[in-house]
Symmetry: C2
Subunit: 196 residues, 2 copies
């Protein structure tokens, strides 16, 4: 359940999210475990500051990195693409091979990492395993616009979906997503969302 | 309420969406009504077929365009950017001027139109005013990936949000978004969603 939003930040969106029915899947989406020379995997970790990050976002990032030093919190890495091995595993478990074109699969990117720095989703998720909590620090870019000047509700829903999904141990698929949007927010603001 | 999905298509995602509390806003997001020579407005209508559209999607598009001929249905155009005048109007109504940087506002793009042809959201919405119905034809691209090979739930939530929003007469902001994801879908499939 989303506990609170926007603590200590300019952001003004209060949201509540509920996640039900995480399916039977224990696959881990950490960095690829098996790599082959032919694999076209982009290994850059995108859950790190870049020049587009606001001062507030960097400050919060530093605060949570400090909390990671004793091992109570961890920063979750984030990649544009999964390894071929992970794709193979998913195909085995989930996909109808008729629906997956190999060539197209190689083009695929994680939805939230398809924008250039600062234009789309800038975020990092921290997790506390003992307390079963995650915190998502998020800054929306100008390509996430809904009505002029405001973040699109779908972009916010996407971030909530991802942050809630990170509460679990591995990859999950959402069964129910129920969001009450309390206030609008501009896409040049930062958000902090806490879940547990 | 979402009535049915996936009619006559390969798509396999059944979804239900509920929208509450469309706010007090009568602004129309049709093509800009007042234009000035200095306006940097991209007027290309993106709700039209491009070479990335599948045969099924084009077939459905043609079927609905036929229905538009007698005026019972209309195709809703879709633009990357709103006109300066519309942005001004929204700022007047909604935005705290401190939160809007003029320069950044000019960069802004509609969230669902920020990807190149075929990589992200390919969609068109048709509306029947008498029956108070909209139909959204949607094909997801490889940049909308969640778990490998599958559309991200946030991308699907975004499309539902937009299609439901189109049921109203003008621009709206979502107050509640409640989605039950019935099945997963691959991003190389098409969806048809009907709302009323």
């Amino acid at each position: 359940m989303l506990r609170s939003c926007t603590a200590g930040l300019r952001s003004i969106w209060a949201l509540r999210g509920r996640r039900e029915g995480a399916p039977r899947l224990s696959m881990d989406l950490q960095p690829a475990r098996r790599l082959f020379s032919t694999e076209k995997v982009i290994h850059k970790d995108w859950a790190l500051p870049n020049p587009s990050w606001s001062k507030d976002l960097k400050l919060l990032f530093d605060q949570f990195m400090k909390k990671c030093e004793d091992g109570s919190w961890e920063r979750l890495p984030s990649y544009k693409r999964t390894s071929t091995q992970e794709s193979e595993d998913f195909k085995t478990y989930f996909l109808d091979p008729k629906l997956v074109e190999e060539e197209r699969l190689s083009q695929a990117q994680l939805f939230t990492r398809g924008f250039e720095d600062g234009l789309g989703f800038e975020y990092v998720i921290f997790k506390n395993n003992d307390e079963k909590r995650t915190v998502c620090l998020f800054q929306g870019g100008p390509y996430l616009q809904g009505v002029p000047g405001l973040l699109h509700g779908g972009a916010m829903a996407t971030m909530i979906d991802i942050a809630l999904g990170s509460c679990t141990g591995g990859a999950v698929m959402t069964a129910n997503l129920n969001i009450n949007f309390k206030r609008s927010t501009s896409w040049n603001q930062d958000c902090q969302e806490k879940y547990q």
